[in-house]
Every structure is written in structure tokens, then in C-alpha cells.
């Protein structure tokens, strides 16, 4: 055997091997299960809220598999527990997006802090993240889809509603972190633009898990007894709500005197509170468990059957995951592949039914359209919807009420592909369109 023929042989076989290798890789990608990452805390302080979303995702995946999966492939959940530790979210997102068992999409996160930690990871490794919780806005990432409410889909309409009810003084109470601070900044700017005087706005921040509400509630009571109709806009988060509402009830502040409208209190949070003294206080969301639609009743039936708990409640972030999962599934069908770039393009414009009887559409800025509702707390721990926007509202990534972001928009469609575009100077500060 000559050297040349040997060389040819080696070359030939290596090509053959390479082809064979490529073949198996292609088979693995097309015929193996589609892997769906679920990144919600199952322990630590956020477990109260997030563990429900993990269960819901498992239910949605099981249902999709019963219906034949996606692209003829089964879905396989990959569950991790970041234990309410923000940096662990980033690490586990990296685990999910690297290696042979890379996931095709991630559903996860609750707090803004954890989302901010995961953001650089999904951008670097080109992952897909569906984020289901209402948040402060001022962000748009090429790799994140925001299925919760932006401030213009929750805070602003709620304030509009209270104004229509004759409220003239505003106490903005919040937990001390990024979401309440940014939301309150937007609200303050919005109220002042609507002619509310500085004296008629009170802002107060308290730490996480705060329980000593007596002097702050008394301050609010005093603030509200100056002869003008007063309301509290609450971005108080988590545990601190229970002692807050208890103190309101004990100091005799009813919804008739000073109504409280909350952005972080849903059905899940109310299960820990005796709601009889709270009847009439409000929450603003895009979905309530009491919403009257067959889609909602079917979803509740599924959820009760899945959890086996007759008392199981549903809430707004659950609806967000329901919408997000269905949008992703439809985008994958449309693109014919789970490839991240293809799905990113095909998902824009996808419209799926939401649980309140309408439909939600994915906008080019990676936010979705949602109806906004105001619900009043009932004595059974549910909300009764007293007002809702006549049509859906599209999420706005960059608030129009903050001077630094009022000229910014986000549009991830070709050819713009920009998450932070200044419409006055037409310069792009973030995204592939920047180059």
C-alpha cells in the first residue's frame, strides 16, 4: 500500500466518520426529546410563590405530551432549584444552556434581582427565557420574553382607575428594592404630570419581611385625614403584606376610608390572611382566578385535578406561564425547529388565547398584550373584578413617563434588531442593530 493511498484511506474514513458523527448529531437533535428548563426556587423565601409555577409548568408539559408533543417529539422537563439565591439562578441557567443536554427553552425566575442575574447568561449562551412576573420595565433583552405586566399594564391603569374614583392624595408604599422603587418613580412622574401636587404624594419604603407597621399605618391614616380622598398604592412584597393588612384592620382603616391597591398581592398571598376585614381593598392584575370565562374554568379544573387539592388557587403569574408556554409551542411549530434564533423570529406576532376569554400577542419588544383588571378583595380570599380595560394593552418596555426613557423603544425584528433605540437620534444602544 502506497503512502498516498493510505492518506486517501485515512481522509476517506475520517470524512465517513465525520458524516456518521454529523448524522447521529442530527438524529439526536431531531428525534430526542425537547428539553424544557424550569428555573424556579423550590426552597428559601421565594419558594412560597415559585414552587407553584414549577408544578404548573410540569402540568402544561404533561398536557402537551398527551396531545402528541411538539414536532412529533416529546417534551422533557429539566427542573432545577436555585434556592432563592440570585447568583445560583445564573449558575443553574449556565448549566442548563451548556453541554450535550442543553435545554431548548427556560421558563423561570420571579424577582427582578434574579432576572438581572440570569440576563447576561442567556444573552451570552443564546438561550430563551420566559419571565412570568409583573416587573418594573426599563429592560428589553433579545433572549428574554416578558409575559408578566410592564408598568403600563398594571400600575398606570390602576392609578387611572383610582383617579376616576375621585382619589386626590397618594401614599406610595413599597418594599425597598428595584421593582417598587422604579415603579414608584414612574408613578410619581405620572401623577405629577396629571397635576397632583408634591404635598399630596407620600412615598415610603420598608425592608423585606417588615412587620412593625404601626407607625407607618398611623402616618398614612393621618395623611388620609386631611379632607382629600386618599388611596394607598402598595408595592409591598411577600410576607410583609400580612402584618400590613392586619395593622390596617386593627387601626380601623377600611377600604371605604383609604383603599389600598396592591401590585404584588394575589390569590396565593391571600391564602395566608383573614380577608374579612380587607373586603374592598384592591389589586391590579391581568388575570384573576374569579375571571368569568370558559378558558379559565377549564384551566382551574385542570389545575385542581393535577394538584389533587380542591382548594388550590390560580394567579396572574400562572396565567403568564400558560400564555408564554403556548406562545413558545406555537412558535416552534411555526419555525419547524427548536433552534433559538428561528424561534425568536417566529414568535413575534404569535397570538394565543389567554385565560380571560381574549387573546394575547407577542409584540416586537418581547412583551405581550394583556387586559388590565382591578379586583376587590372578597371575604373568601378571591377578587371580584370591578373594572377592566375594554381592550388589551401592549406592554411598554421603556416607560414614557421617565425623562431618561421616554424616547426609547425596543424592536427585535429584522432589520432593526434593537432593544434600546432612541427614536429622536435613531441610535441603537443595545442589540445586534447597534453595529
Amino acid at each position: 500500500m502506497t503512502t498516498t493511498s493510505l492518506r486517501k484511506l485515512i481522509a476517506g474514513s475520517s470524512i465517513a466518520l465525520g458524516l456518521a458523527g454529523f448524522g447521529t448529531a442530527a438524529v439526536a437533535q431531531d428525534e430526542g426529546p425537547i428539553r424544557v428548563g424550569i428555573l424556579h426556587s423550590l426552597s428559601g423565601t421565594m419558594a412560597i410563590s415559585e414552587s407553584t409555577l414549577k408544578d404548573e409548568m410540569l402540568m402544561l408539559i404533561a398536557k402537551q405530551n398527551d396531545a402528541g408533543g411538539l414536532l412529533g417529539r416529546k417534551l422533557e422537563p429539566v427542573v432545577m432549584d436555585p434556592a432563592s439565591d440570585w447568583s445560583l439562578y445564573a449558575e443553574q441557567a449556565r448549566d442548563m444552556l451548556t453541554g450535550d443536554d442543553r435545554v431548548d427553552v427556560i421558563f423561570g425566575n420571579w424577582t427582578s434581582a434574579s432576572r438581572k442575574a440570569v440576563l447576561p447568561v442567556v444573552e451570552e449562551l443564546n438561550g430563551l427565557l420566559f419571565y412570568p412576573v409583573q416587573y418594573e420595565g426599563e429592560e428589553s433583552s433579545e433572549n428574554i420574553f416578558y409575559t408578566g405586566a410592564a408598568p403600563n399594564q398594571q400600575a398606570i391603569p390602576a392609578v387611572d382607575y383610582l383617579m376616576s374614583q375621585g382619589v386626590e392624595r397618594w401614599a406610595l408604599l413599597g418594599t425597598d428594592y428595584v421593582y417598587p422603587r422604579t415603579t414608584n418613580k414612574i408613578l410619581e412622574a405620572y401623577l405629577k404630570a396629571n397635576g397632583v401636587a408634591d404635598d399630596d404624594i407620600m412615598v415610603n419604603y420598608t425592608p423585606f419581611g417588615f412587620s412593625d407597621w404601626q407607625s407607618i399605618v398611623s402616618q398614612v391614616k393621618d395623611f388620609g385625614s386631611q379632607g382629600k380622598k386618599t388611596a394607598v398604592v402598595s408595592t409591598i412584597n411577600g410576607d410583609a403584606n400580612v402584618p400590613f393588612y392586619n395593622e390596617l384592620a386593627n387601626q380601623g382603616i377600611s377600604a371605604g376610608d383609604i383603599p389600598v391597591v396592591a401590585f404584588s398581592v394575589g390569590e396565593q398571598e391571600l391564602t395566608g390572611i383573614d380577608t374579612a376585614p380587607l373586603v374592598g381593598h384592591m389589586a391590579a392584575w391581568n388575570y384573576f382566578m374569579s375571571v368569568d370565562s370558559d378558558a379559565n374554568y377549564d384551566f382551574i379544573d385542570d389545575w385542581v385535578a393535577y394538584t389533587g387539592n380542591d382548594q388550590a388557587v390560580t394567579n396572574d403569574p400562572m396565567e403568564a406561564h400558560f400564555i408564554g408556554f403556548n406562545m413558545w409551542a406555537q412558535a416552534v411549530e411555526k419555525a419547524g425547529t427548536t433552534d433559538v434564533d428561528a424561534v425568536k423570529d417566529s414568535i413575534i406576532g404569535v397570538t394565543v388565547p389567554n385565560l380571560s376569554g381574549g387573546a394575547s400577542t407577542m409584540m416586537p419588544n418581547h412583551h405581550i398584550t394583556k387586559p388590565v383588571m382591578i379586583g376587590e378583595i372578597q371575604d373568601d380570599g378571591q377578587f371580584s373584578v370591578v373594572w377592566q380595560t375594554p381592550t388589551t394593552v401592549a406592554g411598554d418596555a421603556w416607560s414614557d413617563y421617565l425623562p431618561e426613557s421616554k424616547n426609547l423603544i425596543s424592536d427585535w425584528r429584522a432589520p432593526l434588531r434593537c432593544g434600546k433605540l432612541d427614536v429622536e437620534s435613531m441610535t441603537c444602544e443595545d442589540g445586534p442593530g447597534a453595529e
Partner: protein, 544 residues
């Protein structure tokens, strides 16, 4: 975004409420019934209920008024059901239902017109009529007027109080007449105030005297524009206003002091167990917070065992929480701390590990979700001294409980044999042993006592805050702060330190906010300890 569903305008609604209040008062004093005033409308029950089936709250308000004015026999029950969110219509049908129990997903329902059993309904089949805040206020008023044709004193008083600031030219005469016919002094007084306020608005200087020193905010709000204006009354109105304001300032101070003491009492309760274990025994017990949590969970468990009797459950939880947490304390002392005597760093690490184990234990056994401990009736609401000063009953209860626990503990240390032995062992362990004191037994009992008191703190905290696995963590740092600030090993020091930190915190809070107030307190204590390392009260005698 601005296309709202039509909202009920506030002004007419308010007018309607005032008319209602007047009716309330008149119904009794002029002894005629509101129904007879309004011409009884034709009352086909179905038509009355049909009118409620609208998305417009203003139209619903009119429909509710029509029901109240009708002579339908079922009207009280209808309005009550509407108020409770239990009146509804068959979806895609014509029947009206009242839900008798809406706790589950399948509701037992009855026919709203005949009250006959109608089987069960769900959210899918029964469309409940919704109400909002304004409508709720209106229906409550309607119900009060229906049930109150007789009018007892308490409801007349409530109605009279609401009249303050609401009297206008068209109803002034009738209120005045009512006031003259009113028999009860208690009811006459707010009516006088209401009328005086109206007279002042009309420019009557003499009426100002009636208002002098009245703390009702509505009076202040009415007087402010008068005092700022240039009417002949302005000067006198200003002096009345000054009088009211200076009186309010004093009550506000008293209120802040109460807030401070009640916040302090929680600190004292949480810290006093630690003052015993850390102060007396020198054990840095990082699991102290979890002992508090155990006390809170014991309260919850006892309440689960006695459904519907939160008062009794709370009373039983006091010994229960003490014993359970105390037992945990004794076990911890016997199994861990005893072997680490004189090695504070290792004790610290071991007890920190213990605290994590206890937290995870609770998470595994009871789930990570918070548990709801119901407060008994007498721990809810507030004791209203006057318009400017009120003591919330749960805080007042905890404050008194704290003082009682402190007194009991102090007496135990001062007058019992155990107290004597504890003090002896603290002051000179070797000498105490030489005198026949069984120091190891004293250690065990002392630690159990400290843990038991932590359990009592948990019982108290269950009335104020969430009962969850993280409950203890929020108090451990504060507890150490109080013990160190008060002087290690001194019960009085703990009391004074806890109370003063509570008051300082509550005074600062409205000015600088809760976060900064806490930082200021922390920095203040650190500076104080620099200057005076032994704390407020130095331990007396030599500690070996």
C-alpha cells in the same frame, strides 16, 4: 386607556348616603318608617332582581335602592346576599339563586325568590352579581335602615357621627329638629357638633365655642380654610384651631410612645430568653430565633386542634409554647451545648447549624408556606381613647404580656431557690459547686428556662406577624443587640434597652423611614458600646 366603564359619580352617591343617615335618625325620633315615605313601587320580585343584572355599578345602585323601597318580603335577605357576594343569576338561564355556602368549589344554592333548595352550583353555572366599594357602602346603609325601623341607640349614634361636616342648607332644619327631639345625651352631642360646624360655616362666631378642643379631623379640615380666609371669624377660628392642634400634638406623642413601647416589648420578649442563656450562662445561642419559631408553631398547632376557639387556644398556647420550646432547649443543652462548655466559637457554629436544621425540619414537616394564626376577638381592633389616640389591642396585649413575663422571670430569679442557684453559679461557678449546688443541673434548667421564654415570645409574635420557617431569623440579630446594649446578664438592662430601642426606632421611623431608622439605631448602639462596653447596666459583683 381612558375609556372606563361608566363610574358612579361620587357626589350624588354621597348625597344619597346622607339622606339615608337622616332617614335612620328620623325613623326613630319621628317614628315613621322609611318605607312609608317612598311610594312602594310595583314589586314583581323577578323584575327587581333582573335590574341587578347589569355591569354598570350606578345602575346596580339604583336597583338596590328599588329593592329596599319595594315591599318584597325577601328584600332584606336579597340585600344581605348581594352584600356578601352570594346573590346571582343562572348563567344562560332565567333563575336567580342565593349561594348558602361559598367555601368550596361546589356551592349549595337556593332559589332566590322562593328560597327552595336548588341543588348545587359552581362558578360556571351561577353568575354572581358583583359590587364595588361605593355600592357596598350604600347597601350597608340600606340594610341598616331596613333593620332599624326601631333604631337602637348605638346605630343612631353612628349615624349622628357621620353627619359631622355633611350638613347642608337643605337638611339643616331637619337635623336641628331631630336634635331637639333626641333623648339620649350621647347622640345629642355629635349632633350638636355637626350643627355647630354648619353654623360656623354660615358665619356664626358663638358656635365656635362648641368646637373648641374637638379632635375630629373633619372639624380641623373645615376650620383650616375659614382660619386662612378673611371672614370676621378668622381670628377666632385660628385660636380654636391652634387649641386643637396643640392638643393633637400631645396625643400624637402619646401615640408614638405607645408604638415605641409595643415595638420595644417585642424586642424585650425576644431578647429576654437570650439574656438568660447568653447573659447568665455565656452561651451564644444562634438557634434562639428558632426556639421563638417553635413557640409560634406550637400556638398554630394548638389552634388547629381547637377549631373555632382562638381565645382558648391562645390561653393554652402560653404554657404549651413555654413547655415545648423549653423541652427543645433542654434537649439542645444535653446533647450539644454541654459538650462545648467554655468554647464559645464552637458553640456559636454548632448552634448556628442547629438553627438551620430546625428551620429545615419545620419546612419538611409543615411546608415552607406561612401558617395563619387567628387572633381571638379581644385581640382585634383598637381601644379608641379619643379621635387622636387609639391603642391597637393586639399590641396592647403583647405589651402587657411582656411585662407579665418580665415580672414572673424577675420574681423567679429573685425569690426562688432556682434563681438563687442560678445567680450563685453565674457569680462563681467553682464556689457554688463547693457549696453543694449541682451546677450541671442548674445549667440545664437555666437553658430550658431561656428557651421556654423564647417560646413565649413566639406565642406573642404569632399574633402580630407571619408564622413561618423564617420567623426566628428576623429577631436573632435584634435580640443580641438588645442584650448587649442592656448589659450582659442583667434582666433590668434588657427591659430598659429593649423599650428604649423600640421608642427610638418608632420616633425615627416617620422621619427617615424604616430602613434608615434601623441603621441609625444600630450605629448608635455600636457607638454607645464603644464608650461603655458593659452596656447600660453593668453586672454587679465579680463574674468569674
Amino acid at each position: 386607556m381612558s375609556t372606563f366603564k361608566e363610574q358612579p359619580a361620587r357626589a350624588p352617591l354621597r348625597g344619597r348616603n346622607i339622606k339615608l343617615l337622616l332617614c335612620l335618625l328620623m325613623a326613630w325620633s319621628l317614628s315613621f318608617i322609611s318605607q312609608s315615605v317612598f311610594a312602594a313601587t310595583s314589586s314583581e320580585p323577578r323584575a327587581l332582581l333582573e335590574a341587578l343584572d347589569t355591569g354598570n355599578f350606578q345602575a346596580k345602585g339604583v336597583a338596590a335602592q328599588a329593592i329596599a323601597d319595594s315591599d318584597a318580603e325577601q328584600k332584606t335577605r336579597w340585600l344581605q346576599a348581594l352584600l356578601d357576594g352570594r346573590l346571582g343569576k343562572e348563567r344562560r338561564g332565567e333563575r336567580f339563586y342565593i349561594v348558602t355556602d361559598d367555601s368550596g368549589r361546589e356551592w349549595p344554592i337556593i332559589d332566590a325568590i322562593t328560597f327552595e333548595d336548588a341543588g348545587t352550583g359552581t362558578r360556571r353555572t351561577v353568575d354572581i352579581f358583583k359590587i364595588n366599594n361605593d355600592l357596598r357602602t350604600q347597601i350597608e346603609g340600606l340594610l341598616a335602615s331596613l333593620s332599624l325601623s326601631a333604631g337602637d341607640e348605638a346605630s343612631r349614634l353612628a349615624a349622628a357621627r357621620q353627619l359631622i361636616g355633611e350638613i347642608e342648607a337643605d337638611n339643616a332644619a331637619s337635623v336641628r329638629q331631630m336634635r331637639n327631639e333626641e333623648e339620649s345625651d350621647a347622640v345629642r352631642q355629635p349632633l350638636d357638633v355637626a350643627l355647630a360646624l354648619y353654623d360656623v360655616q354660615q358665619g356664626d362666631a358663638e358656635a365656635l365655642d362648641t368646637l373648641r378642643g374637638n379632635l375630629d379631623t373633619r372639624i380641623r379640615n373645615t376650620l383650616v380654610p375659614i382660619a386662612a380666609g378673611d371672614s370676621p371669624l378668622a381670628a377666632e377660628a385660628r385660636s380654636v384651631l391652634d387649641g386643637i392642634e396643640s392638643k393633637r400634638v400631645w396625643y400624637d406623642r402619646a401615640q408614638t410612645l405607645f408604638f415605641g413601647l409595643s415595638a420595644g416589648s417585642i424586642l424585650v420578649l425576644a431578647a429576654i430568653g437570650l439574656a438568660i442563656t447568653f447573659g447568665v450562662m455565656g452561651v451564644i445561642n444562634m438557634a434562639h430565633g428558632e426556639l421563638i419559631m417553635i413557640g409560634a408553631y406550637t400556638t398554630w398547632l394548638i389552634q388547629q386542634a381547637l377549631p373555632g376557639q382562638p381565645g382558648l387556644a391562645l390561653a393554652l398556647a402560653i404554657p404549651g409554647g413555654f413547655l415545648v420550646a423549653g423541652a427543645f432547649g433542654v434537649v439542645i443543652e444535653r446533647t450539644v451545648i454541654r459538650f462545648l462548655k467554655g468554647r464559645p466559637l464552637e458553640t456559636l457554629l454548632a448552634t448556628f447549624g442547629l438553627s438551620l436544621i430546625l428551620q429545615q425540619l419545620v419546612r419538611s414537616v409543615f411546608s415552607p408556606l406561612n401558617r395563619r394564626v387567628t387572633s381571638p376577638e379581644w385581640m382585634q381592633g383598637a381601644w379608641q381613647i379619643n379621635e387622636a389616640l387609639a391603642f391597637t389591642l393586639n399590641r396592647l396585649g403583647v405589651l402587657l404580656f411582656c411585662l407579665a413575663v418580665f415580672a414572673a422571670l424577675w420574681a423567679l430569679m429573685r425569690f426562688t431557690r432556682l434563681g438563687l442557684e442560678v445567680r450563685a453559679v453565674t457569680q462563681n461557678r467553682a464556689m457554688a459547686r463547693a457549696m453543694g449546688v449541682r451546677a450541671t443541673r442548674v445549667d440545664m434548667l437555666t437553658f430550658g428556662l431561656g428557651a421556654g421564654v423564647a417560646g413565649l415570645a413566639g406565642v406573642a409574635l404569632s399574633q402580630l406577624t407571619n408564622v413561618g420557617p423564617n420567623l426566628g431569623q428576623s429577631y436573632i440579630v435584634d435580640s443580641f443587640l438588645v442584650v448587649v446594649f442592656g448589659g450582659v446578664g442583667n434582666l433590668w438592662g434588657t427591659l430598659v434597652a429593649g423599650m428604649s430601642l423600640g421608642v427610638i426606632n418608632q420616633v425615627l421611623q416617620p422621619w427617615v423611614g424604616a430602613v434608615l431608622a434601623k441603621i441609625i439605631v444600630l450605629v448608635g448602639v455600636i457607638l454607645f458600646i464603644q464608650k461603655r462596653p458593659q452596656g447600660i447596666f453593668a453586672p454587679k459583683g465579680r463574674t468569674s
